[in-house]
C-alpha cells in the first residue's frame, strides 16, 4: 500500500473518530431538549430570540427561560416527575387580517387535582408558564375553571398546555 493511501486512510479514521466523539460528547447544553409553545402545542426547537422556551431533561425539573446560559440544573426529587404548562387564551379568525394566535395569561392561579382533591398549586409566571413537581399519577390541571388531564411519570417531564379562554376574532 502506498504511503499516500495510508495517510488518507489514517486521515479518514481520525476524521470519523473525531466526528463520532463529537456526537457522543455531552456538553451541558446538549443534554437539554428545547421546546416552545407555538399556539397549538409544545414543539421541539428554539423560538425567536428572547422568547420563552422550555428546557427539558429527564430526571431534572424543566426550566422556563429566555436565555440558554441561564439554565440551571435542579434534580427532580427521587420518585417524582414534573409537568410544565402554559396558561393561554386562544384566538381564531380575523376578517381583515388573519388574527389567530394565543395570548399567555400571567399571574393565573393553577391547581393540580387528584380526583377532586387539590394536591398542588402554582401560579403562571409573567409569560403564562408554570412548573409543578409531582409524584407519578394522573392529575387534572385547573385554571380559570378550565381543565386538562395529564399523566405524570417518574423522572419524566410532560407538557400541559392549559387553554383558559377562547376568543373568536370577527
Amino acid at each position: 500500500m502506498s504511503s499516500g493511501l495510508r495517510f488518507c486512510l489514517v486521515a479518514l479514521t481520525v476524521a470519523l473518530t473525531c466526528l463520532t466523539a463529537h456526537a457522543f460528547a455531552k456538553k451541558p447544553l446538549e443534554l437539554w431538549s428545547f421546546f416552545y409553545y407555538d399556539g397549538t402545542a409544545f414543539v421541539a426547537g428554539r423560538p425567536a430570540p428572547l422568547t420563552p422556551f422550555v428546557a427539558v431533561r429527564d430526571g431534572f425539573l424543566p426550566v422556563v427561560e429566555t436565555r440558554e446560559e441561564r439554565i440551571t440544573e435542579v434534580k427532580m426529587p427521587e420518585g417524582t416527575g414534573a409537568l410544565v404548562g402554559i396558561c393561554y387564551v386562544q384566538s381564531h379568525g380575523g376578517k381583515l387580517q388573519a388574527s389567530g394566535g394565543y395570548d399567555p395569561v400571567p399571574m393565573l392561579p393553577v391547581q393540580v387535582l387528584s380526583g377532586d382533591k387539590a394536591v398542588a398549586a402554582a401560579q403562571s409566571d409573567s409569560n403564562g408558564y408554570f412548573v409543578v413537581n409531582l409524584p407519578p399519577g394522573t392529575y387534572r390541571i385547573s385554571g380559570n375553571n378550565r381543565f386538562t388531564e395529564v399523566t405524570v411519570a417518574k423522572g419524566k417531564v410532560i407538557f400541559a398546555p392549559l387553554r383558559v379562554g377562547k376568543r373568536m376574532v370577527d
Partner: protein
Amino acid sequence: MGKCCKLLVALAILVLTSSQCVAASLDDYYLEAFGLKTDTILAKALLDVQFVEAKPVKCNTDLKHSLRRDWNNLESSTQAALKTVLDTPPVLAAPAIVISSGGHFRIHYSTTVDGAPDLAAINKYTGLNLASYDAWASMVGDIFETVYNYYVQHGYHMPPALPYDVYMHTPIRSGRLVYGLTSDLNPVPSASYPHAFSSFIEVNKDFTADVFQPTIYTPLQNMEVTAAHEFHHAVQFGYNGFFDYWYAEMTSTWFEDEVYDDVNQSYEYLDSYLLYQTNAVSLTAPRDGATEYGRWIFNRSLAEEHNTVDVVRSIWERLAKVSPLNSADINMVPVIEASLHAAPYNSSLATDFWTFLKKLYTRDWTTHPADLARIIPPTMLGNYNAYPVPSHTVILPSYSFAFYRFIPSSQPLTVTLNKTSGIQATLFKKVNGAFSEVPPDAGGNSFTVSDFATMNALTDEVVLLVANTTTLDGHQVSFSTDGSPSAVSSPVVSSGGGGGGGGCFIATAAYGSYLHPKVAELRAFRDHYLLTNAPGRLFVAAYYRLSPPIADVIARHEWMKSGVRCLLLPLILAVEHPAAALGVLLLVVVLGLRQGVVFLKGRAREAAAA
C-alpha cells in the same frame, strides 16, 4: 467625608434615582395607556375610582400582552391597579351603559373624547342625526335585539347569563382594527348544555374607520352584520364552548346575510374560497382568518337542499351533547355528518357537498334570487383549447374540488379519468346558457361529448368537476383527452407518527424518549428536509409503514437499544454536520476510486507480466 466618598454617594443616588425614574415611567406608561393614571404616586398607591381621570382608553389585546410581559417590572401598587385590566371583560374609561329596549343586552361605551363613538362621522355616513352617545348606544341595543329575536324565532337556544354584555370600543388584534370579538367567560353547564360557556362581545364603537369601508357599508350596516355575526358566536359558546372554529365562522358569516339580507357584505368573502390559484381549499380546513369566512356559501346550499335553515341549527344542537376529549375543541366533521344522516335530512356530508359543488357551476340557487350575481363562479384550474389534452393529475385535500374548462374545437371530445376511490367526477355541458350533465360512458371512467365540434367556441363550454368527498386528504384524479390518464395512487392513511410533531419510532425506541435531543434533531430534519418535497414524503410514508413493528421490538429489548443507537450515529452525524458528512463521503468515494484504479493497474501489470 472625602471627595471620593462624596462622589460615590452622589453616583449611588444618581443610579438609584434613575432606576426609580425608569420604573416610574413604565408604570406611568401603562397606567396612562389604560386610562388609570393619577396625579401623584401617593394617589396611585391609594388608587380609588374617584382618582381616575378620563384618559384615552386603549383596551386592546396587544397592549395587554405587553403589560403581561412587563408585569414583574411594575410596582406592586401599579400591579394592583392594573390587575383588573388583565381580567376580561375590558375596562372602559368613563364608562356608561345603556340597557337595550328588550332588556337582553347591556351596551357599554366610553364617554371620553377618544373612547366615545364619533357621532359626527356616524351622522355623515348614515344620514342620521344622532345627538348623543346614548342615542347611538340605544340604536346598537336595538340592532342586537333584532338579532336576538331572529335567532329565538329560528329555535336557537340563547346564551346563558342574560342580559348579555356588549362593549363598544376599538378592539384591535395583531395591530389591526377588527369588527368584533366574542370571548368566553365561564363554564355554565346545565343538563341540556353541559359544555356551555357564558361570553361577552366587543365591537368597534362606530365603524367609521376607512378599513370598514363606511362609504360602501354604513356604520349602521357594519354594526348590523357584526351583531348578527358575533352574537351567533355567543350562541355557539352557549351550545358548547369546544366548537371547531371553522364551522363557527362559516355559520356566523352565513347568518350575516340571513338576518340582514340587504347588506351583502358576506359575498365579499367568497373570493377567498372560490377564487383560488393553484391549490384546492378544503371545506373543513382549519385555516385561520381566510377561507372560512367564504365557506359560508355551503350553509346556503345545505339550507336550500333541505328546504330549511334549521339544518344548520341541528348541527349545533347535536354538538351540544358531544363531550370534548381532554378540553380539546371538537372536530365538527363527524357532528355535521351525524346531523345530516339523521331524520329528516337522511343525507350525508359527501352527498350534500357534491350537490353544492354542482350548484356552484350550474348556479341553480333557489333562495336570495336578487343576489345571484354576487356569487362569483369558481376558479377554473385549467382552460384547454388545444387538443388532445395530455394527462393532468390533481391531488385533492378532504372535501375539496377543482374545475377544468374545455373550449369547443373541431373534433369530438372524450375525457378519460383515472381516480382513487374518494373522488367523484362529472362533466357539464353548457350550450346557449343551458347546463346539462354528460352521462358517463360504459365503465364510468370516461365521458364523451359527441357534439363538441358543433358547439360555439365563444359562448359554449364543457367543464369537468372533480372533488374529494371524503375526510381523507390526498385522493387523486388524472384525466386526459387522449385516452391515457396517468396512474394514481390512493392516499396513505397516517399511522399517527408522520409529520408535524409525530414520532420517529425507531429513534424514539432506541433513545428511550421522544424528548431526547438526538430524536428532536431527527424530527426537525424530517420536518424541514423530508416533508417539504415529494421524494422525502414518499420516504417518510414508507418509513412510517415499516418502522412501528421494528420499533416495538427495539423498545422491548434493552440490549438492542445501544446497538441501534450506534447504527443511527452516522445518520445523526449527517444530520448534525451535513458539510462534514459530505466531505467524509467524498473522501471515501475518492479513496475508493483511487483504490479501484490501483487495483486495476495491478491486475493489468500482472496480466502484462504473465
